[in-house]
């Protein structure tokens, strides 16, 4: 699938959060968006998945502007896993995942055997098939997030938007979740906090600061000591490990003081 944004602008409560963001994702690309808190990562992703309407610019999906699709159609094309998923009611895991089938359903249509098959298949993909009958809210954060991913998979979309989905997850679940996503081989746009993880999974990374893209390219091109300094005002060393993976090591203030002394 092809997602393209051109000059996305967003003004919220009088301040300009996004100042013309253009990027594109095609085919099986895994796109990462990095940037400090408040840089506009989430806002930008929300413009793509239609929770916010950009004040300027356009989002094109497969060459057609987003507004020309019905909400249902976009939900058939892109699924979303975001960070906050707390529900005030007791749903079973199966109920939650089954909701992923709703973009494909007419208002009055009942769920059929095919839907239940897809639910099981999606749960199996995230390794949570045994949890089908459990109450969603009784699961751990990592398990819940995998269920939400299963719901997104049940939508059977050609692209996935991840809005810091691995927040609050321990490292095992972070890697597990992203491995599952990487294996799907679909278009992915994801916001990241952890640069090491972003570098490990992304084909392309865009760095956002104050609502603008300050750098874009492969992880190696983008993630440099200079850029980290610019984005986060933190000193870091970027090197490659024996597997050829980027490895970012930060220098906290007390360590640097030690060096100087």
């Amino acid at each position: 699938m092809n997602i393209e944004t051109s000059g996305i602008e967003m003004i919220l409560g009088g301040s300009q959060i996004l100042k013309g963001i253009s990027l594109s994702a095609t085919g099986r690309e895994f796109i990462g968006i990095i940037g400090p808190n408040g840089s506009g990562k989430s806002t930008f992703l929300k413009c793509i998945y239609r929770v916010l309407k950009p004040t300027g610019g356009a989002v094109m999906i497969d060459g057609r502007p987003l507004e020309q699709y019905r909400v249902k159609e976009t939900a058939q094309k892109l699924a979303v896993v975001s960070q906050h998923n707390y529900y005030n009611f007791e749903f079973s895991v199966e109920d939650i995942v089954l909701m992923g089938r709703s973009p494909h359903k007419k208002t009055m249509e009942r769920d059929n055997a095919e839907d239940y098959r897809i639910v099981e298949e999606s749960l199996a993909k995230v390794g949570m098939l045994d949890y089908k009958g459990r109450v969603f809210s009784s699961l751990s954060g990592g398990e819940q997030q995998r269920i939400i991913l299963a719901r997104a998979l049940a939508q059977k979309t050609e692209s996935l938007i991840l809005d810091e989905p691995t927040n609050h997850l321990d490292i095992k679940y972070q890697l597990q979740l992203l491995d599952i996503v990487k294996k799907l081989g679909i278009t992915v746009i994801s916001a990241f906090h952890d640069l090491n993880i972003a570098a490990a999974y992304c084909d392309k990374i865009y760095a956002l600061k104050s609502g603008q893209i300050v750098a874009g390219g492969t992880p190696e091109e983008v993630i440099t000591s200079r850029l980290i300094r610019e984005l986060y005002e933190v000193d870091a060393t970027v090197r490659k490990d024996e597997f050829g993976m980027l490895n970012i090591v930060y220098h906290p203030l007390h360590v640097r003081k030690g060096e100087e002394a």
């Binding site: 239609r50 929770v51 909400v71 979303v80 009611f89 007791e90 749903f91 709703s102 109450v135 009784s138």
Partner: protein, 361 residues
């Protein structure tokens, strides 16, 4: 160890447990109607009671015995209408409760949460003290209450939509605010009116009663409630999504805004009918959905039909209790439902560690 029947996901002889439950409850509802009609302050034999019903429905039996007279009137014009009204009101309130809880995304919501009861009270108070709605004739209180309830429900929606789209929080705030305005005006009217009889009428009316049941009302209300219930049965997917919130629903392909408005209007209609014919009966719309949720889970595909039937059955028996608990006197149903229902609910809450989700108690 005995294996517990899993009502949430279980399967009984190849049919999902909830469908079996719906069938069982349907049978129970019919049995409840048939049993409740034989119970009352006047002692009538079971065969006489069914004789009257059979004659009235199908013309079977002796017209002189079953077609006219005190016995026939008691069964056909007093008991049966009450029971049918209980069926309709119980179903309507229970379903409206489920829908309200979904719309405002809050498990403590009841059908009256968005100011509908205050609006109805204001309407009733105005009718009783100021004689508003005298043109409507004998049932002016009910009609004014209906108008009050419906208008407030529209006003709440309009207010919540000012300066942005109505979401559950804005609806709740608008409901609470308008509800206080209505209560204040009702109290003002009562205070200025200073009419003792009027105060008693209002109080009595607010406690709720099914005694005013008439066939011509039931002929409108019952079909209406059944149609609305079936409508909400078909909307289970959207009701489920409402609990996940607006943002998640958009990513799942549904913009809830429009649905919320339609659901609110439809519920207001049903609640208005209930208020019109039976005053304000609290608790049913709050508790029945919770009890059903405890046993069957939150999925509205199961919730809506089961809640509807449970609401009917519950109110039929509550009304029987009202008629018989104190000899020669009637207890207002609103009081009885809360007196019996609340402790039962607390018992269930304590026993089953039901936490509405999230934190478990």
């Amino acid at each position: 160890m005995k294996r517990k029947l899993d009502l949430k996901n279980g399967i009984v002889h190849g049919t999902p447990a909830y469908i079996v439950a719906v069938m069982t409850l349907l049978v129970l509802l019919v049995l409840s109607i048939l049993t409740a009609v034989t119970i009352g302050s006047v002692d009538l034999s079971v065969s006489d009671v069914y004789g009257v019903i059979l004659y009235k429905l199908f013309g079977i039996g002796d017209p002189d015995v079953f077609g006219a007279g005190a016995m026939s009137d008691i069964v056909w014009f007093i008991r049966l209408p009450r029971i049918m009204l209980a069926t309709a009101v119980g179903m309507g309130l229970a379903v409206a409760g489920v829908v309200m809880q979904a719309i405002v995304k809050n498990p403590i919501a009841d059908p009256y949460i968005l100011g509908i009861s205050s609006g109805a009270s204001l309407g009733a108070t105005a009718a009783i003290f100021l004689g508003v709605g005298a043109v409507f004739g004998s049932n002016s209180i009910g009609i004014c209450a209906f108008i009050g309830a419906f208008c407030i429900s529209l006003l709440v929606q309009m207010t919540a939509n000012i300066g942005g789209r109505a979401n559950s929080i804005r609806l709740l705030l608008a409901g609470t605010a308008l509800s206080s305005v209505c209560s204040a005006f009702s109290n003002f009217i009562v205070y200025i009116g200073g009419d003792r009889d009027g105060i008693q009428t209002v109080t009595f009316w607010l406690m709720g009663s099914l005694a005013g049941a008439k066939w011509e009302n039931i002929a409108v209300i019952l079909p209406c409630v059944v149609v609305v219930t079936l409508f909400f049965c078909s909307q289970y997917r959207i009701l489920n999504m409402m609990l996940l919130g607006d943002d998640v629903s958009i990513t799942l392909g549904t913009d809830l805004h429009r649905y919320r408005q339609v659901y609110l209007l439809v519920s207001a209609l049903v609640i208005g009918f209930a208020v019109y014919s039976a005053g304000i009966i609290g608790f049913v719309g709050l508790i029945i959905p919770h009890v059903v949720r405890m046993f069957f889970g939150t999925d509205h595909k199961k919730m809506v039909p089961i809640t509807a039937l449970c609401g009917s059955i519950f109110l039929i028996w509550a009304d029987v209790a009202c008629r018989t608990i104190i000899p020669k006197q009637e207890v207002p149903i609103g009081i009885l439902v809360s007196m019996i229902g609340a402790p039962c609910f607390i018992y269930l809450l304590v026993r089953r560690s039901y936490g509405f989700g999230g934190e478990r108690s």
